[in-house]
């Protein structure tokens, strides 16, 4: 086959004069940070995310929280439900690593013990850190039994007093002499999982409903949009109160836990549905989606191969910003006494203890779960921000 015909002699071609050809391949689109042009979407997202330093630090903080939640029994030195009336409102002990003695020093973790004094006027017991009593600690200590991941029975803990009877209260003790640190660790487990499970449930609802509304449009879209607007106009706390009141009081803590996550995701899906619908609408107008249809792709292939990859990163972003909102909602509910109830431990349940101003004055460490909430929510928001900036490496 010849490339030219007599009618098109090459010398009269205007394109033929260009002595400088087009930019060589690999001359990059300046909007995109690319090195070789062979990076996939996820590689580009990862590189952009890595530039967001606060988000990367937050990712490590969150990883620590997740580790603590997964290995709660291993991290917690004491049984979170273990009541020790002797140590009511015992203050936090500082952890020391360098043991100075008269004949030199050694690396050996220890805390100081308590001595009890009675205030003469109030006849109240107060604890004083007694620097004469050293309680030595050891790593991978065997003490109380628990089940790792709820399956493997074991009794190994990260850190514990050498003698199991000695007090070891890193974050102090509560009204019943329970270890705040261990309770916080177990609370992490419940609070994080409420957030995650709630978001996963709202994600499923949101993606299916929002996706159908965006792809098919028409009356289904109109109905879901009005429903979303209605749900979002409801005042949340009274609604939660109503739903929580409707929960049978004889439900087990586990049933309440699932009911609470269900209530939270019942309202949480609306935001995600809007994100998904918006992405579908925007992508439907893209030329490359039209090109895929002309290439002969089925509806399912157009959606799964050409549209979904374009917004998975957006969904992950929206979800990562929804988790802290879930955690805060659970905390608020439990703090008001409407959500999870003892003996289940969550950050909100722990904060219930801090409702009384007078106890706060004597035992301010009861507010530590609040600090955990702030750190976790901030970290997740920073991660969400970093993801949002990195989510669309092709944005103009």
């Amino acid at each position: 086959m010849t490339l030219t015909t007599p009618a098109n002699s090459p010398d009269t071609r205007i394109g033929a004069v260009s002595d400088t050809p087009e930019a060589p391949i690999g001359e990059v689109d300046p909007r995109i940070d690319t090195r070789h042009g062979t990076e996939s979407q996820w590689q580009l997202i990862r590189r952009r995310f890595a530039k967001h330093r606060l988000a990367v630090i937050s990712l490590w903080v969150l990883a620590l929280f997740v580790f603590v939640a997964l290995f709660a029994g291993f991290v917690a030195p004491n049984d979170p439900g273990d009541v020790k009336a002797r140590y009511t409102y015992a203050p936090p002990q500082a952890l020391h690593f360098i043991d100075r003695a008269d004949d030199g020093w050694a690396i050996r973790p220890y805390v100081y013990g308590y001595s009890v004094e009675i205030e003469p006027e109030a006849l109240r017991r107060t604890f004083v850190i007694d620097e004469d009593k050293k309680i030595y600690l050891s790593f991978f200590k065997r003490s109380w039994e628990y089940k790792l991941f709820g399956l493997i029975p074991t009794d190994i803990h990260l850190l514990g007093p050498e003698r199991n009877r000695d007090p070891f209260y890193l974050f102090g003790a509560d009204r019943l002499g329970r270890d705040m640190f261990s309770r916080l660790v177990y609370g992490t487990q419940i609070s994080l999982s409420v957030g995650l499970v709630g978001v996963i449930m709202s994600l499923v609802l949101g993606v299916i409903i929002g996706g159908a509304a965006g792809y098919f449009g028409g009356w289904f879209d109109a109905v879901t949009q009005r429903a979303i607007e209605f749900l979002r106009s409801l005042p949340t706390i009274p609604l939660w109160m109503g739903l929580a009141a409707a929960m049978p009081s004889d439900w087990s803590p586990l049933q309440t836990y699932f009911a609470i996550t269900l209530i939270l995701s019942f309202l949480g899906w609306t935001e995600l549905a809007r994100v998904v619908r918006g992405r579908f609408l925007a992508l439907n107008g893209e030329d490359y989606v039209a090109a895929a249809r002309y290439d002969g792709c089925s509806h399912l292939r157009v959606i799964l191969r050409h549209m979904v990859p374009a917004f998975t990163s957006h969904i992950i972003t929206a979800a990562s910003l929804a988790v802290p909102a879930m955690i805060l909602a659970e905390t608020a509910l439990s703090f008001l006494g409407l959500g999870l109830q003892a003996p289940v431990i969550s950050w909100g349940v722990l904060l219930q203890e801090a409702q009384n101003i007078r106890t706060l004055a004597t035992a301010p460490w009861l507010l530590l779960p609040g600090a955990a909430i702030v750190i976790a929510v901030l970290a997740m928001n920073f991660i969400g921000d970093g993801l949002r900036d990195a989510a669309d490496p092709y944005a103009k």
Binding site: M1, T2, L3, T4, T5, A7, N8, T12, R13, I14, G15, A16, V17, S18, D19, T20, E22, A23, I25, G26, E27, V28, D29, I32, T34, H36, G37, T38, E39, S40, Q41, E286, D287, Y288, A290, A291, A292, R293, Y294, D295, G296, C297, S298, R301, H306, P309, A310, P393, Y394
Partner: protein
């Protein structure tokens, strides 16, 4: 001898970043004279706009590295050096708008949509002149009258969305002229406009310049526009001035190779046509008769139904085997709607459109069901306008080009890879390009990828909707030549939708001219372009700028 009003000497601008800086323009020198138009030409990225902004000292985030910009007040005999002024200071702000005014390419986004045209013009006048609001309003009405907006007393209280594109650009000019500046900087002011509107705006600018004795700095990439209006030409390449001189000298005795290349790629009506005068075959592939399509206005809650838009009216065309049929028209003429009807996107209310399959059968293109088995899409392929939006950024080039072959179940694995490599080489890209993602390619290269995807299924028809209008001149020419080669090699019929008459004359065999949904004239490309019959076609053709300053016809 005209008076020099602006002297730029050795101007350099750079974008600083963490690892050094990127030079945007370096060592640019030129003069602007009162009553003269100086055109800046060059392809995108050559630094034309940065130069214009540097004159106003609004180059942020870049910085002016060196050079002098002397603004001369001819009447007072004073000189002001602009490049050394604080970009946010009072002195430079007194110059902007008052001594030097600027108009932009996109009149919609450079006008505020929430203020009336009048408010925006009056604000500019009040900022720079010591007049009462009532006087400013009178001046604004005068300015609107000067730019030939009908009934300026009423038009002044309208919002930008009530204006057409051409009227908005006129309003922008009125705003720029409100303070009677010495220098008007026009940054691609007609690029977004239709060719007939462009001709009117050019005529208006020239008339205003003559009556007010302004210096005009006109930035464009269109050599035809340059030839029509320029007194002086500055040719820029990669941020440097490669040639400067009077317009006749630049066009008829260009000194620099790049200027010659720009001129050669400019595609005026003088270009030797490459279409065939007679059809290669009588076999008709696509045939439409009396297609009509009206878009009803959308029913909205609590709104009355208003009249719809008649997008197509009684459109009859025929595309023969191996033929390149151009569909020409201004924006809103229905040419893209026609393409979408043929691709099954819209269903017309009246008329018929038939595609004759390779195996002899026919498909009714007005019926959505005809597209369901995909046979039409295998033989009739599409090339899109936007080289950035038409390739999925999340797929490699191999996946993009291979998609139709894979989905059709024709090839897979190593055979698919081999075929994609062949296709890439056929469109002038190395086979190794298949591992990369679209973001590694320039606009012209992406359009080549789009062409490779279109020819992957060995089609008979390609519908190219403004396939070259997003590309720079020389790259556009290369893409057109590639399509010409492919047409000969694969015996393709191409339905080429375009608004650029020069391209159509160069590229097409036959042309159908559309206006307000109707086909007003059909015929061989050369005949339509050189001897148009229908009055609308005559108007359209006569509005096309010719890239030769000796053949000026628009603003004479």
């Amino acid at each position: 001898m005209k008076d020099t009003v602006l002297e730029v000497r050795g101007l350099s601008v750079a974008f600083p970043h963490r690892k050094g800086e990127t030079v945007a323009i370096s060592d640019v020198s030129f003069d602007l004279k009162l009553g003269e138009t100086t055109c800046f030409v060059g392809e995108s990225g050559s630094g034309k706009s940065v130069t214009a902004r540097a004159v106003l000292n609004i180059v942020e985030p870049a910085v002016i590295k060196s050079g002098a910009i002397n603004l001369v007040d001819v009447a007072a005999g004073q000189r002001v050096e602009l490049s050394g002024l604080d970009p946010d200071g009072a002195e430079i702000r007194a110059v902007r708008g008052a001594r030097i005014a600027m108009i932009f390419q996109e009149p919609m986004s450079s006008l505020s949509p929430v203020h009336t045209i009048g408010q925006q013009i009056i604000e500019a006048i009040l900022l720079h002149q010591d007049v009462t609001p009532a006087e400013a309003r009178a001046k604004a009405i005068d300015a609107l009258r000067a730019v030939q907006i009908a009934d300026p007393e009423a038009a002044i209280d309208k919002y930008p969305f009530e204006y057409s594109g051409g009227m908005r650009q006129r309003a922008m000019i009125a705003m720029a002229l409100g303070c009677e500046p010495d220098i008007l900087i026009a940054d691609e002011p007609t690029t977004a406009l239709d060719v007939t509107t462009q001709a009117e705006i050019l005529k208006l600018l020239k008339g205003l310049q003559d009556s007010r004795d302004m210096a005009v700095m006109f930035i464009t990439h269109d050599m035809g526009v340059v030839a029509e209006i320029a007194d002086h030409v500055v040719v820029m390449l990669h941020g440097a001035v490669v040639e400067t001189g009077p317009v006749d000298q630049v066009f008829h005795a260009p000194a620099h190779a790049y200027t010659r290349k720009l001129l050669k790629a400019s595609m005026g009506l003088d270009e030797a046509p490459h279409g065939r005068g007679t059809p290669a075959s009588d076999e008709v592939l696509i045939e439409t008769q009396g297609l009509s399509l009206a878009f009803p206005s959308k029913k909205k809650l609590l709104r009355k139904l208003s009249g719809g838009v008649q997008a197509l009216e009684d459109v009859s065309i025929a595309l023969r085997r191996g033929e390149i049929l151009g569909i020409v028209g201004e924006s809103g003429s229905g040419k893209t709607t026609l393409a979408r009807v043929l691709m099954g996107r819209f269903q017309p209310q009246q008329g018929r459109a038939v595609y004759h399959l390779r195996d002899g059968g026919t498909k009714d293109l007005t019926d959505r069901a005809s597209f369901r088995d995909g046979q039409v899409y295998r033989e009739m392929r599409m090339i899109f306008q936007d080289p950035y939006g038409s390739l999925n950024p999340r797929m490699t080039v191999e996946q993009i080009i291979g998609e139709p072959l894979l989905v059709g179940g024709l090839l897979k694995g190593a055979a698919l890879r081999k075929r994609v490599g062949e296709l890439l080489e056929r469109v002038g890209l190395p086979a190794s390009a298949m591992e990369r993602y679209p973001h590694a390619f320039s606009g012209g290269q992406r359009q080549r990828i789009g062409i490779a995807r279109a020819i992957a299924l060995d089609p008979r028809v390609i519908i190219a909707d403004e396939a070259t209008s997003a590309l720079d001149g020389s790259i556009r020419a290369q893409i057109l030549d590639l399509l010409l080669d492919l047409r000969d090699e694969l015996d393709l019929a191409i339905l080429f939708i375009a608004h650029d008459i020069g391209v159509v004359r160069y590229f097409c065999d036959r042309v159908a001219v559309m206006h307000r949904g109707r086909v007003v004239e059909t015929g061989p490309a050369v005949q339509i372009c050189d001897a148009p019959q229908a009055p609308y076609t005559q108007r359209l053709i006569s509005a096309v700028p010719i890239p030769d300053p000796r053949k000026r016809h628009l603003v004479a």
